[in-house]
């Protein structure tokens, strides 16, 4: 039962989506069904977010209560989840039933602090804490890449040498100072790099990868629809 029902649901939903692709949504029942199914997917997607929040809180709260290693960071995670989520979910006016109840307890002059509007707690936390932290983490990559390039990017083989030379040429081409440098040798070099490296070697390889991945995705979808692939249910 636990295996058969999900396989039947996956089969019916998959087949319905494939067939309804060929019918206009506004004119046919099958098209309408596809539209409804897509709405369900977004709703189910919303629930998966809730599940994610529940999971992260449960795992981290347990570690905090047991005082596991690094529990203070896990506490910070739990506090951050609620600090970001709660103020953004609170009503911004008393126009709704929940808003009426909420603002009978809390002064309505606080309304601008709630929700996701500019100037709200959520907006402030995002702009002055979350966003700078994420940008900082990403910016440190420049340092690691420079160090890694110095240590690991070696012309050990013909293929590695080819990659190394191409990478250096493209890096020069992608910045104004590099373009000016390349034009010292010939005025057409930047255009040649775009035409032969990016739209030549790069594009042909990318096409191969994209087509290969698409075929893989199609065959995997078919396996799921036909019930051959069941790993999504946690079974091999």
């Amino acid at each position: 039962m636990r295996t058969t029902v999900p396989v039947i649901v996956a089969f019916l939903a998959g087949i319905a989506m494939v067939i309804s692709f060929f019918f206009a949504p506004e004119r046919t029942i099958l098209g309408q069904f596809q539209e409804n199914l897509l709405q369900w997917v977004t709703i189910v997607g919303g629930f998966t977010l809730v599940l994610g929040v529940f999971s992260i809180v449960r795992v981290n709260a347990r570690a905090v209560s047991r005082r596991n290693d690094g529990w203070i960071y896990k506490l910070a995670t739990v506090v951050s989840v609620f600090a970001m989520a709660l103020p953004s979910m609170l009503p911004t006016s008393s126009s709704t039933t929940f808003g009426k109840i909420f603002y009978s307890i809390v002064p309505e002059s606080w309304a601008s602090a709630f929700g996701t509007n500019p100037g709200s707690i959520y907006d402030w936390l995002f702009n002055y804490l979350d966003s700078p932290m994420m940008e900082t983490m990403f910016a440190t990559l420049a340092f690691y890449i420079a160090s890694a390039a110095y240590r690991a990017f070696r012309a050990r083989s013909a293929e590695a040498t080819l990659l190394l030379i191409t990478a250096c040429i493209v890096m020069l081409w992608r910045v104004p100072m590099g373009e000016a440098f390349l034009r010292l040798f010939s005025d057409n070099i930047p255009e040649y790099i775009n035409a032969f490296v990016m739209k030549g070697f790069n594009m042909s390889v990318q096409r191969g990868i994209i087509i290969g991945a698409a075929l893989g995705m199609a065959s995997m979808s078919l396996r799921i629809i036909l019930g051959i692939e069941r790993t999504y249910m946690g079974k091999g």
Binding site: T92, A146, F153, M171, G178, A180
Partner: protein
């Protein structure tokens, strides 16, 4: 320890210091090498510029705050271009963290400069989970997926959204993305519904997009901070991407120098090692 051994085993903190100098130096001493245009950036600019004034366009903020240095200037330049042509802009995000808030902050600040009014000239739809379903769903009815905008205002209360019911009412979609959502904008929205889609992506994603540009599935491409700087040049502004080009130039030169130095040391040491074995 020989000279080449010292070079091969240089402390990584010296490299970090060099990178920091390369980033900060152009901020003090401005160099301003001219930004040259690529055909892909020009194609994107032309696609938007050739739309009639007042057209309804969609701008997506499918990026996390971490890549804002590359992607945010693209959004800003695009909004300036669109608002200067009195276009009506519908924004949305397929990224739960950051995208909708960035869209709100960026669009409101640029709209203010051009005297545009929320709900009439632009609307921020916000985020809905599961982007493939969202992209399909918008084809039949935007309201079926987004019943309210980012701040919770019902779409029926926004005058602009009375004119925008689905993709048929949108002339062009500019996807600014730092992840795989752009693949689906191309394969679902462009390929299945025939809406022209332009792309602004991070430098690391740009090589893949050339295949779509050449196939005509992507109408123009901005790749990384350089792409953003190109768009800024086309729009006639000197934004953060143009200013960042000098730092990026120096860091690229530094990395190339480090790669060459590392390889020279590698071969010098390997030659010495071989000489020792043979001798």
């Amino acid at each position: 320890m020989s000279f080449w051994e010292k070079v091969a085993n240089i402390d990584r903190r010296w490299i970090y210091l060099l990178v920091a100098i390369a980033v900060f130096f152009p901020m003090i001493f401005i160099m301003q090498f001219p930004v040259e245009l690529t055909p892909e950036a020009q194609q994107l600019y032309n696609a938007i510029d050739n739309l009639p004034n007042g057209s309804i366009v969609m701008l997506t903020f499918d990026y996390y705050p971490s890549t804002m240095a590359e992607t945010r200037p693209m959004s800003i330049a695009a909004l300036r271009h669109m608002f200067s042509k009195d276009m009506k802009v519908v924004t949305l995000s397929n990224i739960p963290l950051g995208g909708p808030t960035i869209a709100e902050d960026v669009t409101r600040s640029i709209a203010k400069e051009y005297g545009k009014e929320y709900g009439i000239d632009y609307v921020n739809l916000g985020y809905r989970a599961n982007y493939t379903a969202v992209m399909h769903g918008l084809a039949s009815s935007i309201e079926s997926i987004f019943n309210a905008d980012f701040t919770g205002t019902p779409l029926k209360d926004l005058p602009l959204m009375q004119k925008v019911k689905n993709y048929n009412d949108i002339r062009f979609i500019l996807v600014v993305s730092d992840n795989a959502t752009i693949d689906y904008w191309i394969s679902i929205v462009n390929a299945q519904y025939g809406i022209p889609v332009g792309g602004g992506v991070t430098a690391v994603s740009a090589p893949k997009m050339y295949a779509f540009v050449e196939a005509g599935q992507l109408t123009g491409l901005l790749g990384g901070m350089k792409g953003a700087a190109e768009y800024e040049k086309l729009v006639g502004i000197k934004g953060t991407a143009t200013r960042g080009m000098d730092s990026q130039s120096l860091v690229h030169f530094l990395i190339i120098f480090l790669v060459i130095a590392g390889n020279v040391a590698f071969f010098a040491l390997r030659g010495r090692e071989k000489g020792r074995v043979n001798g």
